[in-house]
Amino acid sequence: MRHIEYKEIDENVYQETLDNGLEVFIIQKSGYNKKFVTYTTKYGSIDNHFKVNGKEHQVPDGIAHFLEHKMFEKEDGDVFDLFAKGGANANAFTSYDRTSYLFSTTEDFYKNLTLLMDMVEKPYFTEETVEREIGIINEEIKMYQDNPGYRLYFDTIGQMYDKLPVKIDIAGTLPSISEITKDHLYLCHDTFYHPSNMVLIMVGDFDIDEAMDFVKDHQDARGNIKPLDVKRLLPYEQRDVVKPKHNLYLDVAETKVMLGFKNEKIDSDKERLTRDLAMMFGLDMVFGEQSDYYYEMLEQGIIDDSFNFAHNEEKDFAHILMTTQTDDPEKFTHTILEIIEDIKNKDIFEEDKLINQKREVLGDYLSSLNSPEYIANQYTKYHLDGYDLYQLPEIIEMITVDDIKNYIFDALDPEYMVECVLQPEDEKVSADD
């Protein structure tokens, strides 16, 4: 077992890779009542096309999420009930590239930990239970369809991506999930829930040796699980967008607009993290609440305080999204494009601004470390991306103004921009007149 002490931030991590390939991290949080565990597989909504031991499979959209739902149901009932009986709160979520199962409790920890590991490791699917789940997930899909922000987001992503399955809804569609069979589910479980494709993270106040031994004994008892030869088959995605402009009409009162700037993905872990951080700082200098541009747009009524922007840097894709509620979407887009031109000729990326921003980000980061949930989720994310959450302060320190300039102009290239405008339905009628 490896022990890493991070003195500056007063954190301790214990790590071991078990014989079956499972990676285990214990993050010690002295004085906490709560113990929080996540069990994560590197398998998400974009993994719908893959090869196992040479055989190619295309599975229905939304299956990773479907599988997540079905893992809670076993022959003798619902595992949610068993967690509740054991005094634990359990949940799970699916993203583009991972599925996490989690629980928290303040007592009977090992009983609940066994429950979590067994639940994730031992699938139980029947045609009948699969059939019933389609109804539940269909209601979930419909619920999101009533959320204008979600619709705007997915339409924007759809305008940007042609082939990459990031454009599909994580939950799939009613036709796609209706195709799912129990055999698909077993196939995906066998393929992606192998211990060597998984990470277990436990955060709380632990007897470290006892906790690690407990996981080891459980994993040893599973015997030898032969790893499969798995290849993910992701389509090649060019940088060109599918459709630069799009209007979406819904039963809403307010107009919203979203802009997306598509970028090339980066394969090197280190470079990817550098761009991610440099973009965070750079965008904040241009559009953040400490910038002049922000207040100019606010004073002129081009944006309101729903204005929001983020750079999204993933292994398989990268883009920037900006959104606001506005009466004049055209003017918003026009102003953003003007600002992008303007910053090329002005020296707005300055050293003293960056120093101040780094202090801010460091403070936010330390505040977040109060939360076991944040630690477990972000530690997993950084780990899967090839990094260590607890080394973030050192990496942030290394970002320079030149890094920002190096990435930001390319990332904000209008040639790779899409614009999606969400408008009230009655405006469609008057536009058609």
Binding site: K34, E107, R132, E139, M143, Y295, Q357
Partner: protein, 414 residues
């Protein structure tokens, strides 16, 4: 793993919550007054203005830069309803100085910021008119935007039908129609009223030391301590109401409101437990039977305001299944009323509530909220546990039978 000490500083009750597990210090200044239509919108606007612009900084961006420089100190305001009251709070979170390599007394600096924030509205002048107008516009936009969230909108509609002439229908963030006519003078008056006549409490949590109290001196000063009663509304006889509206939605939003006749802390705790069993958790009757067994809804839950004796059921249902779901909800409630639940389920529910309570204190904001609640109700952790332990099968059945249907509101497709 924390201890609480109360002092009165400048006639303001000040609660120190000492714990070493957090990397931050959190300060909360809590104001409390009666929930009234005339007050809520002004208070919300006032609270937003206060955390954006203070007397010591010429512009908002300078203020934000100052906070950023102090390791991203977070200043926020929040409004909420509690009992018969409206609460406004100012919260400042900053990292503990021991994680900083330079010699920077963050607590002292941040107390200065808070003093400035609390005092500034007294000095709002003509030069602030533009800022005021802009904040008004942003406020209007925010409330308009909220109405595009159908679940939020339908809950608001339920409150309007159920509490037609009662102040409880007002949301903590105010009334859209009232914003336009607010003047800067109103804001200044409301601020003066809040500083003078509200109940004010300061709470601070984190790794504190003996000088902490000294730093907080002068944050607010009064000639005498103000303590207001903390009460809920008294039970009002129900008149059953039903309303359905139509918009283009994929999923119908079914909202049901009940009034509960509870008049003791024991009964309120029993209502809390009954709600968990009925629809407040993933093992509840509503979740298990209506969502899992019958696939009638993706989301369905119940929530309760135990201080006031209200119970609400909120669900997203297929438009053609609304009637079926509605009867199913009533059926599950009847089961609780009839005592159709096992003692095992009751004790599991209580156990999980205890675990959730233990988890709250692992969050700075949760810990502060819990201690504030104890301040208001003059109680301790031990009291809460004792009340929970007292809840048995009989008490649940008794309280469940005091639950009366008031309003069914449905927002469904065209």
């Amino acid at each position: 793993m924390y201890n609480v000490q109360s002092k009165t500083i400048d006639n303001i009750p000040t609660v120190f919550i000492h714990t070493e597990k957090f990397k931050t210090i959190n300060v909360k200044v809590q104001f409390r007054s009666r929930l009234e239509r005339d007050r809520v919108s002004k208070r919300y606007l006032l609270s937003r203005m206060m955390v954006k612009k203070t007397g010591s900084f010429d512009t908002e961006s300078e203020f934000l830069k100052y906070l950023a420089h102090h390791y991203g100190a977070h200043l926020t305001s929040a409004v909420t309803k509690k009992g018969r009251d409206h609460l406004v709070s100012f919260n400042l979170e900053f990292i503990n100085s021991r994680f900083v390599k330079e010699d920077l007394n963050l607590l002292e600096k941040m107390t200065e910021v808070l003093k400035d924030v609390l005092k500034t509205p007294f000095d709002y002048g003509v030069e602030d008119a533009q800022f005021f107008e802009r904040e008004k516009r942003l406020y209007i936009n925010r409330l308009k935007g909220l109405k595009d969230n159908k679940a939020q909108k339908s809950f608001e509609n339920l409150l309007n039908v159920m509490f037609e002439d009662e102040p409880y229908k007002y949301l903590s963030h105010g009334v859209l129609e009232d914003i336009e006519k607010i003047t800067l003078e109103d804001i200044k008056d409301e601020h003066e009223e809040m500083m003078k006549n509200d109940e004010a409490v300061i709470l601070i949590a984190g790794h504190l030391d003996e000088v902490t109290g000294v730093s907080l001196k002068g944050l607010i000063a009064r000639d005498e301590t103000i303590r207001l009663p903390y009460e809920g509304y008294s039970f009002k006889e129900v008149t059953e109401k039903e309303q359905t509206d139509h918009e283009s939605v994929e999923q119908a939003k079914l909202n049901i409101g009940f009034r509960v006749n509870v008049d003791s802390t024991e009964e309120r705790m029993a209502l809390n437990v009954a709600n968990q069993m009925f629809g407040g958790s993933a093992t509840s009757y509503l979740f298990k039977n209506i969502r899992e067994k019958e696939s009638l809804a993706y989301q369905i839950h119940s929530q309760t305001d135990i201080k006031n004796g209200f119970l609400f059921v909120l669900a997203g249902i297929s438009p053609d299944q609304v009637e079926k779901a509605k009867s199913a909800v009533f059926h599950e409630l009847e089961r609780i009323k009839d005592g159709d639940f096992t003692d095992e389920f009751l004790s599991e529910t209580k156990h999980l509530m205890q675990v959730n309570r233990n988890e709250i204190v692992d969050k700075p904001k949760g810990l502060i909220a819990l201690v504030y609640n104890q301040y208001l109700s003059d109680s301790t952790d031990g009291d809460w546990e004792k009340l929970l332990n007292k809840v048995d099968h009989e008490l649940i059945v008794k309280v469940a039978n005091q639950i009366h249907l008031d309003t069914v509101y449905t927002l469904t497709g065209k």
